[in-house]
C-alpha cells in the first residue's frame, strides 16, 4: 500500500515536473519593451512639428505654463510664463529620456523650468530666484516620469516632489503666436498701476488683484444680494491672456479666463474677451465697495493693543515702484533706516509718522525725527485724512523722509483695505497709484 502511494507520487511528479512552457504575459523581454517605450516617447515628443504647450503644477502649489519644442538631438527650446523675459525670449537647453524606475523625461541643463525648482542661495552668494524658501524653492520638478499619453496629450509626474505636468500638442498657429511673444499678453495687467483694477463684463463689475508671485488672482464683487463677495483662484498665462484654474460663476456669467488681452497705452486700459463678451480692465480709485469702518478700525487697533505702532519696511509704493522714495538708503548720522512707522496717539492729541533708525552698533532702534499728524479725520465715504499738527526733531525738508511726509498729507486722504488679521493696505484716494502696506 505504501509502495503504491510512492509510485503514484512519482508518476504525478514526472507528469507535472516537465512543464517547459515559460512564456510570459508579454511577448517581449522587459528591456525590449523599455526600449520600445523610450523610442515611442522620443518620437512623440520630437515628432510634434509645432511643439507642445504645457502646464506645470508644482507640488508646492501654483500653476505655470510653458511651451516646449523638442528636437531629436536632445535639445529643447522653451518659453515660460514665469516673467516677461521668459515669456518672450526662447531659451535652448538639454533634455534626455532615461529608463530609471519608469521611462523618464529629464530637463538636464538649466532653463526656465528650473526657475521654479531653484533652491535660491543665501550662503557665499545671495540670489533669490523665486519666492520659495532657501534650500527648497517652489517645490517643483524637472525630472518627470510618463504617467499616461495619448496622441495629443502627455501627462507627466515629477520624480522628486511629485509635481504634475500636462503637455498638449500645439498647432501651427499657436507655435507662431508663442514665437511672436503672445504668452506675455497676460502680464499687461501689471501695466495698470492702480491698487484697484476694475474688470467690467457687461453690467457686472469686479475688482481684481493679481499676485504674480504665487500666480493667484482675487475677484471682489457685489453678489446678487448686495453683499461683498471675494473669490481667489490660481491662474496661468496662455496665448493672449490668462486661464483661471477654477472658474468664477456669478449669476449667468461664468468666467474661465481672459482672452485676447490688448493693452491700450493711451487710455491705460486692457480690452479683453471674457466669456465671449468684450470687456475692459481699467485702473480705478474707488473700489466696488469701500470698507468704511476700516480706517478707524486700523487706528483703534494700535491704541487698544498696547498703544503700539504700525510699521512698513518699504514705505510708499508709487506708480508701480516699491519703496518709491528710496527709504532703504536713508541715513541719519550713523544710524541706518530700519522701517517706517505710524504711531497712533503717540502723544496726547497727536500721532507720530516717520522713519525709525537702527543705531550704528546695530543694537537698538532710535527715533531721530518725524511728523505729528492730528488724529485722522474719518470721512463718511471711508477715507482717513491726515493733517499735520506738530514736528518732532529736525525734519529734513528734502529727500526720502520729506517726500514720504508730503505724501501722507495728501488732501484726498486714504482708503484702507484689511488684508489680514493684522495687515492693512493704505491706498491713496487721489489717484489710487500709491499705497503703504502696514504690518503689526
Amino acid at each position: 500500500m505504501k509502495r503504491i502511494l510512492l509510485y503514484i507520487v512519482v508518476i504525478f511528479s514526472v507528469i507535472s515536473s516537465c512543464k517547459k512552457d515559460d512564456s510570459t504575459i508579454f511577448q517581449q523581454s522587459p528591456d525590449e519593451r523599455l526600449n520600445e517605450a523610450l523610442t515611442k516617447y522620443q518620437a512623440q515628443l520630437s515628432g510634434a512639428q509645432n511643439g507642445w504647450k504645457a502646464v506645470l503644477f508644482p507640488a508646492g502649489g501654483g500653476s505655470y505654463s510653458f511651451y516646449f519644442k523638442f528636437s531629436d538631438s536632445n535639445r529643447v527650446r522653451m518659453f515660460s510664463d514665469f516673467d516677461s523675459t521668459t515669456a518672450t525670449t526662447l531659451k535652448e537647453s538639454s533634455y534626455r529620456l532615461k529608463a530609471i524606475q519608469q521611462p523618464s523625461l529629464i530637463f538636464d541643463t538649466y532653463s526656465y523650468i528650473h526657475l521654479l525648482s531653484d533652491p535660491n542661495e543665501n550662503v557665499v552668494v545671495r540670489s533669490i530666484v523665486n519666492q520659495g524658501a532657501v534650500g527648497v524653492g517652489l517645490v517643483s520638478d524637472y525630472e518627470f516620469y510618463f504617467d499616461s499619453t495619448t496622441t495629443d496629450t502627455i501627462k507627466l509626474v515629477g520624480r522628486f516632489n511629485g509635481s504634475k505636468a500636462v503637455l498638449t500638442r500645439a498647432t501651427a498657429q499657436e507655435a507662431t503666436a508663442y514665437n511672436s511673444g503672445q504668452l506675455a499678453a497676460g502680464l499687461n495687467i501689471n501695466k495698470i498701476l492702480t491698487y484697484f483694477k476694475r474688470l467690467t463684463v457687461g453690467s457686472q463689475q469686479f475688482d481684481i488683484q493679481v499676485k504674480p508671485v504665487d500666480h493667484t488672482i482675487t475677484f471682489t464683487y457685489l453678489g446678487a444680494n448686495g453683499v461683498l463677495q471675494t473669490f481667489t483662484t490660481g491662474y496661468y498665462l496662455i496665448l493672449g491672456g490668462i486661464t483661471l484654474l477654477n472658474p468664477l460663476t456669478v449669476g449667468t456669467l461664468t468666467i474661465t479666463g481672459f482672452n485676447n488681452m490688448q493693452w491700450n497705452a493711451t487710455t491705460e486700459t486692457i480690452t479683453t474677451t471674457v466669456s465671449n463678451t468684450v470687456s475692459t480692465i481699467s485702473g480705478i480709485v474707488v473700489p466696488v465697495k469701500v470698507d468704511i469702518g476700516a480706517p478707524k478700525r486700523w487706528w483703534d487697533f494700535a491704541v487698544a493693543n498696547g498703544n503700539d505702532y504700525w510699521f512698513s519696511g518699504k514705505g510708499f509704493h508709487v506708480n508701480g515702484v516699491d519703496d518709491a522714495y528710496g527709504l532703504a538708503g536713508l541715513r541719519s548720522g550713523t544710524n541706518t533706516y530700519y522701517y517706517l512707522v505710524y504711531w497712533p496717539s503717540y502723544d496726547p492729541g497727536n500721532d507720530f509718522f516717520g522713519p525709525i533708525f537702527l543705531n550704528a552698533a546695530q543694537t537698538g532702534l532710535t527715533l531721530q525725527y518725524g511728523t505729528g499728524p492730528n488724529t485722522p479725520t474719518y470721512t463718511t465715504d471711508g477715507r482717513a485724512i491726515f493733517t499735520q499738527l506738530y514736528t518732532y526733531g529736525t525734519h529734513p525738508a528734502t529727500g526720502p523722509a520729506a517726500l514720504t511726509r508730503a505724501k501722507l498729507y495728501n488732501a484726498s486722504g486714504y482708503y484702507f483695505v484689511q488684508t489680514g488679521a493684522t495687515t492693512y493696505d493704505m491706498v491713496s484716494a487721489s489717484d489710487g497709484k500709491a499705497w503703504v502696506t502696514w504690518q503689526w
Binding site: I11, S17, Y110, H114, E121, V124, S127, G135, G137
Partner: protein, 305 residues
C-alpha cells in the same frame, strides 16, 4: 514486481533529466542604459572630450544625474554657458600648475578622474548648513556646487568680490587632490604629532577664530590629521605665500586658549606643519612647493584679479 521496479527507476531517471530548463540569455546588447547615458554630442561635450578626457582621462558630468548626488536635496543643474569657463579655470589653476612642476604624465596618473557639476548650493535642511564643494569618493569623484554663480574676470560686470564661488571651487579641488597625494605616499608621521591632541569630531562647533588660535587654517582641519594636511595644502596653494605669512603673523592674541595654547605656540605649529609639507612635496613627489604655490596663486590672480 521486478518489472515494476525497473519501470520505477526509469521514471525517476526521466524525472531527473527531463527538467533541465536552460534559457538563452536574450540579447544583452539591448539593455537600456548599459554603458551610461547617451545623448547627441554638442560643442560642450566635444570640448570636454578634447580638453580633459583625451589628455587626462577625466570625465565630467554637467548634465543632471540625480544618482551622483544626495537624493534628498533640492538641486538644479548647471547653466550650459558656465560649463566651459568653470572647467577651463580648473584646468589652468590645478592641472596646468601641477603639470608644470612635474611632468606630462603626473596629472594623467594621479589627477581626480570624475567631476560632477551642479548649478545650485547643496542645502541641508536639517542643519541649515550649505555644502558648496566636496564629496570626494576614494579620490576619484568630486562634486562641485553653486556653479551657476561662477564668475571670473571674463564675466561681464565682474567685481573682485564676485570671486567667492571660484575660490571655493579651487579650494575644494586642491583639498581633494592633496588627499590623493597622501593616499599614494603618506605624509611623515611627525605631521600628525604637531596637533595630535586637538583633533576632534566636534569640529563643527569650533569657530574659525578658535581654530586659528589653536594653529589650524580652518575648523575642518581640526577633524583629523588627513584633513588638516589637505586643508593646509589647499589653503597655502590658493592663498599664496604672502597671504599665508600674513595669516600666520596675524595670530596675536594674549593669554592662552581653553586648551592651553598661546599665540606663539599656534604660530609654531602652523610653521612646523608648513615645513613638513614642503619637505614632503620635495621628497615624495620632487615638487618645489613654493614654486607650485606661486604658480597656483598667479593662475588664480590672472582669472580673478
Amino acid at each position: 514486481m521486478k518489472i515494476f521496479k525497473i519501470f520505477f527507476c526509469f521514471l525517476l531517471l526521466v524525472e531527473i533529466t527531463s527538467c533541465k530548463k536552460e534559457d538563452a540569455l536574450g540579447n544583452v546588447d539591448n539593455i537600456t542604459g548599459l554603458g551610461g547615458d547617451l545623448w547627441v554630442k554638442g560643442p560642450i561635450d566635444r570640448w570636454i572630450f578634447d580638453s580633459l578626457t583625451v589628455p587626462y582621462n577625466t570625465a565630467v558630468k554637467y548634465k543632471y544625474d540625480q544618482f551622483e548626488l544626495k537624493l534628498n536635496s533640492t538641486l538644479v543643474p548647471m547653466k550650459e554657458e558656465f560649463v566651459i569657463p568653470v572647467l577651463s579655470a580648473i584646468k589652468k589653476v590645478w592641472i596646468e600648475t601641477y603639470s608644470a612642476e612635474t611632468n606630462a604624465n603626473f596629472m594623467k596618473k594621479y589627477g581626480n578622474k570624475f567631476f560632477i557639476l551642479v548649478g545650485s548650493g547643496n542645502y541641508d535642511l536639517a542643519t541649515g548648513a550649505v555644502n558648496l564643494g566636496t564629496t570626494s569618493e576614494d579620490g576619484t569623484k568630486i562634486v562641485m556646487y553653486q556653479l551657476n554663480y561662477f564668475k571670473t574676470r571674463a564675466t561681464p560686470g565682474y567685481v573682485p568680490s564676485d570671486s567667492m564661488v571660484a575660490k571655493e571651487v579651487f579650494k575644494t579641488i586642491e583639498h581633494e587632490f592633496a588627499h590623493v597625494l597622501h593616499r599614494n605616499v603618506l605624509y611623515p608621521f611627525t605631521f600628525t604629532q604637531v596637533s595630535s591632541s586637538l583633533y576632534t569630531s566636534d569640529w563643527t562647533n569650533v569657530s574659525f577664530a578658535e581654530a586659528y588660535a589653536e594653529g589650524f587654517v580652518t575648523n575642518y582641519a581640526m577633524s583629523q590629521a588627513d584633513d588638516d594636511f589637505a586643508e593646509m595644502v589647499s589653503f597655502m596653494l590658493t592663498q599664496g605665500k604672502t597671504a599665508f605669512d600674513a595669516f600666520v603673523n596675524g595670530i596675536n592674541y594674549t593669554g592662552t586658549t581653553a586648551n592651553g595654547t598661546t599665540a606663539v605656540v599656534a604660530k609654531q605649529r602652523l610653521r612646523l606643519k608648513e615645513s613638513i609639507i614642503v619637505g614632503y612635496f620635495k621628497q615624495s613627489w620632487n615638487i618645489d612647493f613654493y614654486s607650485l604655490q606661486a604658480r597656483t596663486r598667479n593662475a588664480m590672480n590672472a582669472l580673478l584679479k
